[in-house]
Amino acid sequence: MFGWGVLKGMLVTLWNFLLTYLWPKKGIFTVQYPEKKLPLAQRYRNFPFLVYDGTPHMIRCVACKICESECPPKCIYIIPEKDAEGRVQKKPAVFDIDYAICMNCGLCEEVCPFDSIFMDHEYEISKYNRAEDLMVRKEALLKPWEYFAKIRPHDFERIEAKRAAKSAKAKPVAPAEKPSQKPDAGPTSPQQGSVPKNG
């Protein structure tokens, strides 16, 4: 009959309208954002951050610059630290990531042989000034290893197991150096070997 389809459609919308009042749980899908947030998936990725063990001085990054050269839009900038005699240290003096340019690809996390840069879950990072505020310095990038365990427990377990195996292998070679800095186990040659394992 003419008009029957219209009536049926009107009933559908009426039902949805009433449902939002009668049974809001079923009827309304809105998540009222600033008050309520959806839980993020573990594999959610946003912007990279740097990991430290214990205190912020024990930064894992050895300033090997692999991530800097791999980053597709070239938004990482690293200057290694130098000691009094001008020798390059295994520590970054400057580590900047330009969040305005970073495209959240996660390649830096994948290529880092020392498990020191990871993708974060932080997404409320809007700023007033693009040039200054979104250029994130080393101090702001540093977050503890426990934080990583909190946001991505599965990856944490996997990486912990891998690192434990690696340090067990490295122990006979350099037992004395272990407490100071883990990446010392293989600064130059083992680094080459560990890249494929990671990628």
Partner: protein, 384 residues
Amino acid sequence: MAETIDQIFVLAKDRFLDLLGIVLPDWIILLVRILISIAVLLAVAPVVMMYMTWLERKVLGRIQNRYGPNRVGIFGLLQPIADGIKMLTKEDIVPKNADQVIHFLAPVVIVIAPLLVLAVLPFGRNMIAADLNVGLLFFLGVSTFGVIALFMGSWASRNKYSLLGGMRAFAQMISYEIPMVLSVVPVILVTSSLSTAAIVEAQLGWKWFIFTPWGGFAALVFFLCGVAEVNRTPFDLPEAESEIVAGFHTEYSGMKFALFYMAEFISTFAISGLAVTLFLGGWDGPAFLPSWFWFGLKTFILILIMIWFRGTLPRFRVDQLMGFAWKVFLPFTLANIFIAALWALLPYPKNFIADTIGITVILTLLQIFNRKETPKKRKYLYAN
């Protein structure tokens, strides 16, 4: 007591004029008496418009399983005011090649028509700004005038989408104006009056015209034509977002854009009010609540139905739109005049039978003449 509440606005106006009469001469009082009604309408109309946008967004939101505005004020009640401030602070862009004067004039002119027609709506017992004896004719004539402003805007913008929107608006308005006026004719015929107040008085005591056979169908046709007149979905071809950007108001921004919306919403209100006046008994209702409340309630329900349409129905195609007006509404309303005349002439049981027969006949004829012609399936004698 109920009488006082019913007449509260009228009494307040009289009291105010009495107070003024102590100090001012008579002719000024006469002028003020007229101006008060105008001032009240001019003040109330934008508020009604603002809260209609709020209502529309709320109801549409609920229909689409979300909340609608709920951030500004409790239940988002301050949202229209926030929107108004936003509209006022927006940049006013006029295209370089536009006809500057007409482009500026169109949004100003377009709100005049809906504001004017509010004058002849009886909002309650004795609550009519101007009880013209040709009130209905005035309403129909002036409300059509809005389409000229609309076309001014679309022509002056010098934009192909605007022009297309304006053309569509013209075609649509002219097509739907005819069945709309024809659907009103039976009411005039039965009440033998063009005054809106007299039409309401003829329906007092539950003799609403929607309960008569001809009135029910005329009300439906009038309401649908009204929806088409004010360019609301499913008849919103002149501003079809998905086809022609925003139609006639593509080139408008800021407050001018808001004025187009104001015109649309106030005419929605006015058309609903007229439908209530003509077919739903106007301010008639059980006496325990004031008459203006009943008028408001019925208008509110009609507006809700329009919003409900918008939340449900997709847009018509141009040919469907035209076909609807010329092939269904026009013949039906023409026949309806005759049916209403039968109702007015014959005594009670006979007129009901005559009307039922008449409506059945016209609906059947419409069904027959409007049926889809599907060509017969071809028989291939020598193929395969």
